[in-house]
Symmetry: C2
Subunit: 349 residues, 2 copies
DNA sequence: TAAGCTTGTGGGAGCGCTCCCAATTCTTGC
DNA sequence: GCAAGAATTGGGAGCGCTCCCACAAGCTTA
């Protein structure tokens, strides 16, 4: 198993008494190699610990087997939200399973946008890109579209009519959350939204409105406060909404809930007795916190997996027609909504 | 600025009336190119939007300009701790600044350890690796040592005598934290440690002990509870320590503080009135939570930057002698230690 | 038994760079 | 005005693969 330093295909070929081409066929699991030859070559490969040189393979095959994950500057502050690491995990894992390498491109400064993007688009670096969707006016996505690199986007993008994306059903998820609160008996329901420049933020707000509308509850604009998916954003949004005395609140991300609950506590309010809360995401902490959080579960890791699979499909088969995958969401009832205390009612369609 | 698809050095050479070699020299900013020629070539490059093919460059130069970040399975659960994303940011940013690409290798399953590592070590993929240090018996690091790939480790590793690493002064940081608590007047000081299989966990415990020793305070083993750097680990460790009624507690990571504070609240204890808390890390949330957290600040992003710089140094100049960089830490006094209420004393050396 | 398949194998060409050395041009000193 | 040297420039070789085509066997089929 020793790693002889500079072994090449040619070396392995010589050592196993065949040609370079045959060794290549064995390594790439191509057909048209007889079983005894395949065995012999495999033995030599294992004995020598040989691995083909990736740069050479990339050059010859015009594929690098590298997938890039692009995290725009506008979601940088969100990097502390467990959502992104979780998604990254799903993506990384699926890359590994498909024998691809994951390259991470974080845009920190505005300068990066000019410097990094051309670098990413260099030929011979990545086969394709996964981009986190951002607000409408993000330069990044429009630049992507102009390039010739295959890409998918997490979350429905705003102004890219024929982009491929993977998303969750934000509208219906939010709808489930708010309908649940209504079923329990709350009527003065507020919401802390995501950034309303993003489709995610907008869709979840739509779901909120739809649930109220369906139950003929007039909605009070003062009970709708825009957040930004950060913890401190949740905190300040909560402070802003409290004077209008909601009896329940739908918060568009679990991470914002953390900040909001702190605001409630400082104002002497207990969850769920004084104010009921339903979140969105179902992060690992959400079940551990106290009170445990009623929330909308979205399948974050599977989403990451699907992103990779979709991208590989596009790389192999072209970007047309655009792929669109929407994952379902699920209401997870725990303590923070007060369902258990307030009434017998439990399940939800 | 249009991206003509398949431009090569040769094309640029023809278009600017020079040879391939000269274009290469211009692109790589090598000397021995006359100013007018350089100008002419640069103009053509800008007009055409040409970027050299990275796979070809890697093959010819035997450098990929890719750096791998290896996150072992044993720190996977920590991915929700903002520490790792923050570190990753520092690393990514510095990679960009040095025109390197960051590849992310997350080990999710045990299987990955066997499958992924050989892939990482393939020639032509990465120039070097940054590995998060883990507990002593982690297979990963010893495997790294056997390889021929340059690497650095975050945090002093346990059984790698001549590995290069970048770390913070955990011992002195913890010492500062506990000495501060002693200065304020606390005497029954507990600690929730990190995993004691890691040097980080051990060093911070040593610092705790050293501060007590220096003040002739006998330490009570029941006040030392091992945590695991996770939020829920902090919660359970706190529950375990509370019966022994510490008046102050040093918690070895801010993220564990989050869990611990929840345990305190459930037991009706207020911070800092009933129990004083000092953390470690100084995460972004630490200043925002309520009460704001007194903690030991470690320079996470600079640490990431130094990791990259050290690795590049090793790649260029060889791994001997091993590089060792230790960053200093700093006590940040806020509300959770009760210093402001309890006494006039403020500063701390 | 010859002609036509199918299956297995080998080697040339080429992917697009870098690096080295040879060739050319420009300086400079005496 | 010319040799010696420095500064430029060009082109060949090669990095280690993949891909294509040619060729060698073995196997049908008439």
């Amino acid at each position: 198993m020793g790693l002889n330093p500079k072994l090449t295909l040619e070396d392995i070929a010589r050592m196993s008494g065949v040609s370079r081409s045959t060794v290549s066929r064995v390594i790439n699991q191509q057909p048209n190699v007889s079983e005894p030859v395949r065995q012999r070559v495999m033995d030599v490969i294992h004995q020598t610990g040989f691995h083909p040189n990736l740069a050479a393979r990339s050059l010859a095959s015009q594929r690098s087997y590298i997938i890039g994950l692009v995290i725009p500057r506008s979601v940088q502050n969100l990097f502390s939200d467990p959502y992104i690491p979780l998604l990254t995990q799903g993506i990384a894992q699926t890359c590994n399973q498909n024998n691809h390498t994951l390259a991470l491109f974080l845009f920190n400064t505005e300068e990066d946008e000019y410097k990094l993007l051309p670098r990413i688009r260099r030929p011979g670096l990545v086969d394709g890109l996964i981009a986190l969707s951002t607000h409408a006016d993000d330069e990044l996505l429009t630049q992507l579209r102009q390039g010739d690199i295959p890409y998918v986007i997490t979350g429905r993008p705003m102004n890219l009519p024929d982009a491929s994306y993977v998303d969750v059903d934000n509208l219906y998820g939010a709808f489930l959350a708010v309908r649940h609160l209504i079923h329990i008996g709350y009527r003065h329901i507020g919401t802390i939204t995501g950034p309303l420049k993003t489709t995610t933020g907008m869709d979840r707000l739509e779901g909120y409105k739809k649930a109220l509308f369906e139950s003929f509850i007039e909605y009070d604009p003062r009970l709708i406060v825009e957040g930004d998916f950060t913890q401190s954003g949740g905190y300040y949004a909560a402070l802003k909404i409290l004077p209008h005395q909601p009896d329940a609140i739908f918060i568009a991300s679990d991470y914002m809930v953390l900040g909001a609950i702190q605001a409630f506590q400082e104002n002497g309010l207990t969850v769920p007795d004084d104010i009921a809360v339903v979140g969105f995401d179902d992060l690992p902490i959400s079940s551990q916190m106290s009170p445990s959080l009623t929330t909308i579960r979205q399948p974050i890791r599977p989403l990451g997996a699907k992103l990779v699979e979709t991208l590989l499909d596009i790389i192999d088969n072209g970007s047309q027609p655009p792929r669109r995958v929407i994952f379902g969401t699920e209401l997870v009832i725990r303590e923070s909504c007060g369902a258990h205390q307030k009434m017998v009612f439990q399940g939800d369609g």
